[in-house]
Each structure stands twice: as C-alpha cells, then as structure tokens.
C-alpha cells in the first residue's frame, strides 16, 4: 500500500528545495508554506511540505492533519519510523504530502546529517520540497535553510521585520550548503505579507518599493492583509484551498510567477472606492 508513494521515475530531476524563512516570528511563514505548497500541488507538481519547528509545531494544524500524525521528522531521523510511515497525504489535493515536526522533543535532536538524508530521499520522488522554517537564527532555522536551492523570504511591511529579513538573507548567502560548497547561490524571493495599500498611502506602512530598496532581492509579490487567513488557519485549510479570497489569489499569482509565468502585480494599490462606499464605510 505504501509502495506507490515512492515511485522513482528514472531520469527525473531531483526535487527543488524551497525554504520559507524570515528571521522575524509571526510574519506568515507557516501560512505561506502551506499556501505555496498547496498551490504547487494544485498546479500539478508532487510537493511535500516539512515542518522544522521542533517543539512548537504548527504546520500540521494549518494543513488540517493534526489528528493523523503518527511519526514525525525526528522519528525518521532517529530511525524510529520510516519516511513512508511519517508522510501524511493531504485528503484534498492529489500530489500534496506533509512531514510534521516533533512536538515533544528538543530542537537539539535535529541533526544536519539526518535532515540531509531525509531530503535526499525525498528528492528522488518529489518535484518540490517546501521547508517551513521556525523563527530566529538558531539551529532549527539554520537546518531548515541549509539544503535550500531557493528561498521565500517572508517580510511584513514593518521595520523590525525588514531588519530581520536582511539578517536572514545574509545567512542564506553564507551559511547554506550552496554557499559552503561554492555552488550557484540560493535564489532569494521577497514575499511581503499583510500588505495594506491604504496604510502605505497614508505613510503608516513601508511600501513594497521601500522594502525592495533595502533588501535588494527578487520580488515575488505581496499578500494583502486578509480576514480569510485567520479563518483558514482555524479550519485547518491552506488559504489557497479555501473559497476564492484575496490572499489565496495573491498566493496563486506568486506560485505562477515562481513557475516562470508572467502575472501582473495585484493587491499593491488601494481599491478605488465610489462615493457611497466612502460614505458608508465601516
């Protein structure tokens, strides 16, 4: 029964490893990991999303599979369970799998070598591996980014988030396998979450242009501040799998851009309001 999960397609390219990181906590890494991975799967790519936040795992909640977790990443690294037993297949989307983190263990139980082996195994049978990084610059975050080929740097339009993102970009350029082995550098993509163009126009919030000027990495898109995100989290559905909503649309735009297609940048300007909506706005 488990055999079908690991059909190695001969001559297939190894999966691209994408780390979703930020430095700052609470900016939307897990929301983005879930939405992006689900988006890639919907677009037809076999995708696995891995939670690296040992002890504070959230990805299983956001993906809605918290009641099906038997084995986790640390169990697999320590040989207490096989990768097949730990991987959870998403019930809504074909091609989407989740590898949860351990909740009871310590992050020191993560070993770089063990993670490397897990990723190498997954690379043989998946198209994309999305690594949901914990906040900070400690072992969990460094392990999540070490094997990355590409990175989504999630940033809120707010000064401390931008500062922390800058720090993490510096680390992507120096503390990853690609940097240490002098390979082509990790490709960085800027994802700005919780963007509110009205507040940007008022001058309360940093604009996408300001953030791009400071961080100087390739811009993937903005995700607007949206009530749908909270509702989706609480229901355990990635925001790209819920009914049409602005955040979900923004994530699909980013997935398509990531896959090489041209998409105009939406959600960056304040919507034009007619006189009646201005009179009656709440």
């Amino acid at each position: 029964m488990n055999g079908h999960r690991f059909t190695e397609k001969p001559g297939q390219k190894p999966a691209r490893v994408i780390v979703v990181t930020s430095g700052k906590g609470g900016v939307g890494k897990t929301t983005t990991s879930a939405a992006f991975a689900a988006g890639l799967a919907v677009r037809g790519y076999k995708t696995v999303v891995i939670d690296f936040d040992v002890g504070l795992r959230n990805l299983d909640l956001i993906m809605g599979c918290e009641r099906r977790v038997v084995y986790d990443l640390l169990n697999v690294i320590h040989g207490e369970g096989s990768l097949n037993q730990a991987l959870i297949k998403d019930k809504r989307v074909e091609n989407l799998y989740i590898l949860p983190a351990s909740q009871t263990r310590d992050k020191d139980a993560l070993s770089m070598q063990g993670v490397g082996e897990v990723i190498a195994t997954l690379q043989r049978s998946f198209d994309y591996i999305v690594c949901d990084s914990p906040a900070g610059i400690e072992k969990g975050a460094m392990t999540a980014m070490y094997f990355a080929d590409e990175a989504l740097v999630v940033t809120n339009p707010e000064v401390s988030s931008v500062r922390d993102s800058d720090r993490i970009i510096g680390m992507l350029a120096s503390k990853t396998r690609r940097a240490e082995q002098d390979l082509a550098p990790v490709k960085e993509h800027l994802v700005i979450t919780r963007y509110d163009p009205l507040r940007v126009n008022k001058g309360d919030m940093l604009s996408a242009g300001d953030i791009q000027e400071i961080l100087a990495i390739s811009f993937l898109g903005v995700v607007p501040e949206s009530k749908s995100v909270l509702a989706a989290s609480n229901s355990g559905i990635p925001v790209t799998l819920t009914d049409e909503n602005d955040a979900g649309e923004a994530y699909y735009d980013m997935v398509d851009r990531f896959l090489g297609q041209d998409r105009p940048f939406r959600f960056m300007d304040a919507p034009k309001r007619g006189i009646f909506s201005r009179l009656f706005r709440n």
Binding site: R163, R167, I214
Partner: protein, 273 residues
C-alpha cells in the same frame, strides 16, 4: 581624604598607528640543521649592517608541516644572538599562533603587495651571494643612515583596497585591515564596515562605518546616501541622533578636522528602482 580625580587627568601618552619599513627574513625551509648554520654564515658576513636591526619573520613560503616543526623559541634566541631583534611573525599557518606568542613574538598580518630592495653592496667580502637554499634575507626597505655608498631608493608599501560588490547585510561585518574599503552597494542597518584607510559606499550607508581604525586621522567616509547608525574616524565618533538633519540622506563626506568630525555634503542622491 583626597580621592584622585581620574576623570580630568591629562593623558601622558598616545597610541597611534604608523607605517614603517622593516627588514623581513623570508624562511623557505625550517630544517634546523641547515637553517641555523646558514643564518650564522650570512650574518657573519654583514654583522655591522644587521646589527640590532628589527626583523619580521615571514613564513608564507613554508608548508604547514614545516612550520609545525619549527621551534620559535630557538629561532628567536638564535636571531638575537646574531644581533637581530625579531619582533614578530608573518604568514604563519593557523595553529602556530599560540607557539609564536609563547616565544614572545608578535603576529603580523600578511601583506598583499610589497616592494623589495636588494641589499646594499656595503656587505663586506663577497658580493650578496645568490640566495642560498633555506634562507633569503631582503630588506623590504632600508633606512640605515649609512655614511658610505648609495642610499637605497625608498620603497613604499602599496596598501591593498578591499572591494565588496554585494550589499552588506544586517549582522555582517566587513573589515579592511590595510588600506581602503569600497562597497559597490549598500551597508544595511545592523551591519558594520571598518577600514584602516578610507571607506567609500556607493549606495546607502545605514549601518556603522569606522574609518582610520589604526589611527589614520586623514581617513574619510564617503557615501551616496548618508544615514548611518554611527560613524567614526580614527576613534572620533558620532551617532545618528547627533547628526545635523540637513546632511542626512544626501551624499556626504565625513572627515576629521581639528580633532572633530566634519560633514560635507557633496551631492544629492535618489535611489532608482
């Protein structure tokens, strides 16, 4: 009871950096049975020339295994017995630093370029012998007030410039120990750039910049968009809060005049995306 007021005490000394020229002993092999006899032979020929000359020991031509086999205490003592004053070691391999320091020698940074001058022919008896295997002594520059013969042309040590092309990100530190530092991008908030000489930032300076760190008071900091967390020239520093608002975000040159920092606007700059 009188308590000494240390706050208003006038300083009785100053520590400053200085550029000097010095004799360098380039060692090629560390085999004691060949090195010391050859050294003694060479020194015997030019005793007065080398007498009490400070010398730097350069090990860059010696393999790490050779360096590990070298007894620094014995080398220092031999050199002193021959009339030289060994002051430090340059080009030592990692792992040798502790042994060098235990022998009472200093550690000097490796220099990228240097001009060398042939030893003057004041050396008695035979003309400067073709470099014997094992040792090679060249003055990097000689400043002997020799009454006789020619004064060797003064050679200057060219200081290397460090060039950085990518943004210096928060938490990173870039250090140019000799010479200038050129950043062809921005220095972000939370980053630090330091140089013995000048610092040129062809972008926004939002972090810390410290020029002239070895004491060069003529060092300057130039940036296209000046909004630093802290600037310092030869130890004199200013934080962002104390800067005149009129100079912020413009292209500015920071220099030292009469012991105080001076900020000159040299242009205006707007970033293009």
């Amino acid at each position: 009871m009188i308590i000494a007021n240390t706050i208003t005490e006038t300083p009785v000394f100053e520590m400053k950096g200085s550029v000097m020229t010095i004799l360098v002993l380039h060692i090629k092999e560390t085999d004691a049975d060949r090195l010391y006899p050859q050294l003694e032979k060479k020194m015997a020929k030019a005793r007065s020339f080398f007498n009490s000359a400070p010398v730097v020991i350069d090990l860059s031509a010696v393999a790490p295994e050779g360096q590990a086999a070298l007894d620094f205490v014995e080398l220092a003592e031999t050199l002193r017995r021959l009339g030289l004053v060994p002051i430090g070691v340059r080009g030592g391999a990692e792992g040798q630093n502790e042994r060098v320091q235990q022998a009472g020698l200093g550690l000097l940074p490796t220099v990228k370029t240097e001009k060398t001058v042939a030893a003057p022919t004041e050396v008695q008896s035979s003309p400067s012998a073709p470099s014997q295997e094992g040792i090679q002594t060249e003055p990097s520059e000689v400043h002997q007030p020799e009454p006789s013969d020619e004064a060797p042309p003064p050679a200057t040590r060219t200081a290397s410039t460090k060039v950085i092309t990518l943004p210096v990100r928060s938490g990173q530190q870039v250090f140019a120990p000799d010479g200038d530092l050129i950043i062809l991008s921005s220095v972000n908030a939370g980053a630090e750039v330091l140089a013995a000489g000048n610092i040129h930032v062809f972008g926004a300076l939002r972090g810390r910049a410290m020029a002239g760190i070895h004491g060069d008071t003529t060092a300057r900091i130039l940036s296209l968009q000046c909004n630093p967390e802290l600037v310092s020239v030869a130890g004199e520093y200013a934080v962002n809060e104390s800067l005149d608002g009129a100079i912020l975000h413009h292209s500015v040159m920071v220099s030292l005049a009469d012991g105080r920092l001076k900020f000159d606007v040299v242009g205006s700059f707007s970033p293009n995306l």
